[in-house]
């Protein structure tokens, strides 16, 4: 019947002498013609479609802080049962922590050996097996009924993210070790680690861990307690390369902090209170919430777009440990060791319930505010749309081989960097050399003409169009960063493109370095892929874009 309906506006009557001798022929001819017209119209309007896709993608991004795209958080793994246990951490343990703190304050400025000796003696006096690596001191809690096959890692490093000493964090860890000994309701071992510095000590420990102890670590918590007391518990959850812990970990800690510890959780140290927006004559009710969520997301993007971890827990992500940093937001009160200890205990009890690793598909999310999350299906389309807007532009590729021939030389700086040609005697040479080569190549390589130029552009669009949605799956903010760069370099109007290309990526990296963000060092120390990403993805794009515009 559908077929009949479609055929209703019959064309000219069939001419028995022509090719279209029946009514059906005529109708089919019409259908085919219509299909061709549609396709041609699409081909004619590719730039418009690309612009629409990019616009929708950007709008989608802008819509992310809007509540309509969020969901309420929940704990997916039933075994966790957060905040459902009787806690035993009490004032006696708090007193113990205060005693440790007094002693730590005396040795805060002594050498690593002296501090490590103190820590080992203290752990040992609590009946724990203890030892040290060159950059860390650790203790191994072996509850009587634990088989020693699975472990929970708790750490507190000497330096806080504020830059000051993390003495209260270390005192907390010592008191918690003392508290754990002998308790027989644990099924997991505990590894307590005090690392040197802010992150590097813990990273050093993790590199040696597997030859020290056999247990597999599933979950971890890192304690950062710089102040005297704290008002909120800030959860820093982003790991190296944008790797996030299973969201159950974040939700469990947040739930436990609120209901067992009695302290309000925050993400990072952003106030979870929408501010009154008064400068507009008419403010919609959702606007203040929107601004607050945007602030949360921007903080998240600032770290993960460059693959940076927000705390020492970040180095654990690479070892498949779901972990986060508990940051005790400094304040005059009301919380202290008691709240933190109970939060640690109750969270560990939840982790202790696990029979398997956390494995629900709960690793991809954005957190706009406490108690809310944006599921992957609600944010990923933004990156896919931006990627698609590039990809569609690359379909018209008259001479793929010719394009490839012109494209490959753009990757020479990446190849040189990958071969490990380093001139370490000259500072910053690792950045300057690829930059010089890139500038040299960008200005000296012949500019292709005609079909070859079109093909070079198409292939570049196809490559980066495919890369962006793929990257979005593992590191969404980084994919958005790459999408913005690619859109600016390849599709923006010339008046904008020239000044943008004037900034060589390496110059931007050097500016970051000036701000205290050394992504090359982070690559060497923690395996942050941002540095090789700049060399292998961004720099070739810059060279190609430079050649295309010359």
């Amino acid at each position: 019947m559908l077929a009949r309906l479609r055929r209703k506006p019959a064309g000219p009557p069939p001419d028995p002498k022509s090719v279209n001798y029946s009514a059906e022929h005529v109708a089919l001819a019409k259908t085919i013609a219509r299909r061709q017209r549609m396709l041609n119209s699409v081909w004619r309007h590719v730039p418009l479609i690309r612009a629409i896709l990019a616009t929708v993608g950007v709008l989608w991004l802008l819509a992310l802080p809007y509540e309509g795209l969020w969901k309420r958080t929940y704990v997916d793994e039933h075994a966790l049962q957060p905040a459902q246990v009787t806690m035993y951490f009490d004032w006696a343990n708090v007193h113990q922590a205060d005693l440790y703190l007094d002693e730590l304050e005396k040795i805060a400025n002594s050498s690593i050996q002296e501090r490590s000796t103190y820590l080992q003696n203290t752990f040992s006096a609590s009946g724990l097996r203890t030892g040290s690596t060159p950059t860390s001191t650790y203790a191994h809690v072996t509850p009587p009924r634990s088989a020693g096959t699975e472990s929970i890692l708790l750490s507190a490093n000497w330096l806080s993210r504020d830059g000051g000493p993390n003495l209260r964090g270390v005192a907390m860890l010592l008191a918690f070790g003392d508290f754990l000994r002998g308790q027989n309701h644990w099924a997991f071992d505990f590894i307590l680690v005090v690392g040197e510095d802010y992150m590097s000590g813990l990273e050093g420990f993790m590199r040696e861990y597997h030859s020290i102890l056999p247990g597999v670590i599933w979950t971890g918590l890192n304690i950062d307690y710089p102040g005297h007391s704290f008002s909120h518990l800030g959860l820093f959850y982003e790991g190296v390369n944008g790797r996030l812990p299973n969201q159950d970990v974040v939700n469990t800690v947040a739930h436990v902090a609120r209901h067992s510890g009695g302290v309000l959780p925050r993400y990072h140290d952003i106030k979870d209170e929408p501010e009154e927006i008064s400068f507009l004559p008419f403010t919609p009710s959702w606007l203040s919430s929107y601004v607050l969520a945007a602030k949360h997301l921007l903080h998240h993007f600032a770290y993960t777009a460059l693959g940076r971890a927000t705390g020492a827990h970040g180095v654990l992500a690479r070892h498949r440990i779901d972990s986060l940093t508990l940051y005790c937001t400094p304040a005059t009160g009301p919380h202290g060791f008691h709240t933190l200890g109970r939060t640690l205990e109750s969270t560990s009890r939840s982790f202790n319930n696990l029979l398997e690793r956390l494995h629900a598909s709960y690793f991809f999310y954005l957190l706009p505010r406490p108690d809310w999350f944006i599921p992957v299906g609600h944010y990923l389309p933004a990156a896919v749309l931006l990627g698609a807007s590039l990809t569609i532009g690359g379909f018209d590729c008259p001479s793929p081989l010719g394009g490839l021939f012109h494209m490959l030389p753009s990757f020479i700086p990446a190849v040189i960097a990958a071969l490990g040609i380093r001139i370490s005697s000259i500072p910053m040479m690792d950045s300057i050399l690829p930059m010089l080569i890139a500038i040299g190549l960008g200005s000296s390589l012949p500019v292709p003409k005609g079909d070859a130029k079109k093909s070079l552009e198409s292939l570049t669009l196809l490559l980066y169009g495919a890369l962006i949605p793929t990257l979005a799956m593992i590191n969404f903010p980084q994919a958005i960063l790459l999408a913005s760069i690619a859109l600016l370099y390849l599709t923006s109007p010339t008046w904008l493109r020239v000044p943008v290309l004037g900034m060589n990526p390496m110059v931007l990296v050097a500016m970051l370095h000036g701000k205290g963000v050394d992504i090359q060092q982070e690559w060497i120390e923690y395996g942050n892929f941002a540095w090789p990403g700049v060399l292998v993805v961004w720099l070739p794009l810059w060279v190609t874009a430079w050649r295309l515009i010359r």
């Binding site: 072996t142 096959t149 597997h210 102890l213 056999p214 029979l355 398997e356 494995h359």
Partner: protein, 575 residues
């Protein structure tokens, strides 16, 4: 009076039979460890003889000392010797100053059955069939699932590691089945107690029959060892053991570590089991602080060699009429100690061994086995491993070196390698003959790859990983001879076990098959639709006007192209 004499008359023949053929011995050994813990070992030994008069050599009645439910399956299947061992928790070699628990026959982590089967031509069944039926029978007895889930799980290359206790291995086949994931729990204790003649009701076993107490202890091991009577050796023996490690320091705060039978078990010394031929409580004095240690009431003290060290052992005989221990308490304390303080360092165990996985990736890893000989003499030993079929070792990459030095191939004298036969369920077994130089640590590294498991081969808790059996270090140079001057070798500890190991296995996304089903069904449907359309249509030519929107007519260019025309519709149109 009348009743009791009647009982004697009725039971007299059974008493007589029991006394003549069987005897029961029980002991409780206490061994304080340096880190404020106490190792507690119960041992129950029954000697029995075969009786040629009856058709079966094993008593089938339930009022003898021997448990028919245990011995009949062994006799039926012509088992010569058999050991079942369960271990929960871990033995801490670094803080206990001992290489392993007091009881030497307890195996590595998890559950383990091993034994020797007699070859018998009269038997219809093959030895592995008989082994399967005996392990399944014992699994039922112990509520533990001890049998193999597949024939290939049986290990047959450990005969030299666990040689027969009686005689040699002619006409005997050795089997070993390891269940590293098994956990010792209350369900395994109840059947154990019911095998004992005292049933956990009297004698030392009544101290054991308190699961609420003993299962809160640390390292725990339970097991039985049965030696069946044979034509050459008419006396058989079965022995059950239970060992646990108690933390003497309370959970909160500090306190003295003094203890007594009552603080340990919340009971006084029980009354003696009337059928016991011997019933002994022993206290092995610790290596350090032993002079400050005092026990009340005082027992008989003698010196014994325990694991390479001469130790003072205090013994209380429960059958001794003069002391009358039952209903009283035995107290042990350290004079002038006050609150117990943990020592900073511990005396080293004679030999320690650890196994970890380094360079761990989803698909590969390297076993790193560190064996430390703290003794003053070099030792000869065999280190053995059992792997599931999907762990594939890179045999050519195996390396041995002394920690801090270069590779030393002379340390590895021989390797016996029995590869698995994938994809059949099977095991890889390895025996490394090693020399352990004095006061040094040797490091054995074995790189391995995890082969891909099929969807159905994953365990239900696949994301947890798979536990591997403990590695076994067998010492070849032990000397029972008391006259030997080498102290380290004067030990009965033949085997030292490594810790258990949990190995992450690469897991698929288990919901993925449904996505694959949906995807492939869609592809099939689209393909079938296209094919069906293509095959059932009539093909013809259609003239399509060029794209300028005008109607077709004379003088305009036209494309002709082949298209499928629905046969049926064409027909209906024609009609």
């Amino acid at each position: 009076m009348l009743l009791s004499s009647l009982r004697i008359i009725i039971l007299a023949p059974i008493y007589a039979a029991a006394v003549s053929s069987s005897s029961f011995h029980e002991s409780l050994t206490l061994h304080p460890l340096p880190d404020g813990k106490l190792s507690v070992l119960f041992e129950f030994t029954t000697y029995f003889t075969s009786e040629s008069s009856s058709s079966s050599s094993i008593a089938q009645s339930h009022h003898s000392l021997t448990p028919p439910s245990l011995l009949l399956p062994l006799e039926q299947n012509n088992v010569s010797e058999l050991t079942v061992s369960f271990v929960a928790g871990r033995w801490d070699q670094s803080r206990s100053s001992e290489s392993g628990p007091l009881h030497h026959e307890s195996g590595g982590g998890g559950g383990e059955v091993r034994g020797w089967l007699r070859e018998d031509e009269e038997m219809r069944k093959t030895s592995s069939e008989r082994w399967n039926s005996v392990t399944h029978a014992l699994g039922g007895l112990f509520c533990a699932g001890l049998g193999p889930s597949d024939e290939g799980e049986n290990v047959r290359t450990f005969g030299e590691i666990y040689p027969p206790v009686i005689g040699d291995d002619t006409n005997l086949t050795h089997f070993l089945l390891s269940h590293p994931h098994h956990h010792l729990c209350t369900e395994n204790l109840t059947p154990f107690l019911s095998l004992l003649p005292s049933k956990g009701l009297s004698g030392l076993s009544s101290l054991l029959a308190q699961p609420g107490i003993i299962f809160s202890w640390g390292f725990k091991t339970e097991g039985i060892e049965v030696i069946m009577p044979s034509s050459s050796q008419p006396q058989g023996r079965w022995k059950g053991w239970w060992e646990g490690v108690v933390d003497l320091v309370p959970e909160r705060g500090t306190a003295s570590r003094e203890f007594s039978i009552e603080t340990l078990s919340k009971k006084h010394v029980p009354r003696v089991f009337p059928e016991a031929e011997s019933s002994v409580i022993r206290l092995i004095k610790p290596k350090v602080d032993s002079d400050r240690m005092e026990a009340e009431p005082a027992g008989r003290v003698e010196e014994k060699w325990v694991d390479g060290v001469k130790r003072e052992v205090v013994e209380w005989d429960m059958l001794d009429e003069t002391t009358q221990l039952s209903g009283k308490d035995i107290k042990v304390r350290w004079n002038d100690e006050g609150d117990f303080k943990y020592p900073r360092t511990f005396a080293k165990a004679p030999i320690t061994i650890s196994r970890t996985v380094v360079d761990s990736l989803a698909s590969d890893g390297t076993f790193q086995i560190k064996i430390t000989n703290n003794g003053a003499v070099s030792r000869d030993a065999v280190y053995s491993e059992i792997w599931p079929w999907w762990a594939k070792g890179w045999m050519s990459e195996i390396k041995v070196h002394i920690e801090g030095r270069k590779d030393d191939p002379t340390l590895l004298r021989d390797v016996e390698y029995h590869p698995s036969t994938p994809p059949k369920v099977s095991t890889t077994t390895l025996h490394f003959s090693l020399t352990l130089p004095q006061r040094s640590t040797i490091v054995l590294t074995i790189p391995f790859t995890k082969l891909t498991l099929k969807y159905t081969e994953h365990r239900p808790d696949a994301e947890r990983g798979v536990e591997l059996s403990s590695g076994v270090l067998t010492l070849l140079d032990l000397e029972q001879n008391q006259g030997s001057d080498d102290e380290a070798r004067r030990s009965e500890r033949k085997r030292i076990y490594t810790n258990r190991l949990l190995l992450d296995v690469p897991t698929p996304d288990f919901s993925m098959p449904y996505n694959v089903i949906i995807m492939s069904s869609t592809v099939m449907a689209v393909f079938f639709g296209l094919m069906q359309g293509g095959l059932t249509r009539r093909w013809g030519w259609v003239e399509v006007p060029k794209e300028d929107g005008t109607e077709s007519g004379n003088g305009l260019t036209k494309d002709t192209m082949p298209v499928g025309i629905n046969e049926k519709e064409a027909l209906s149109d024609a009609i």
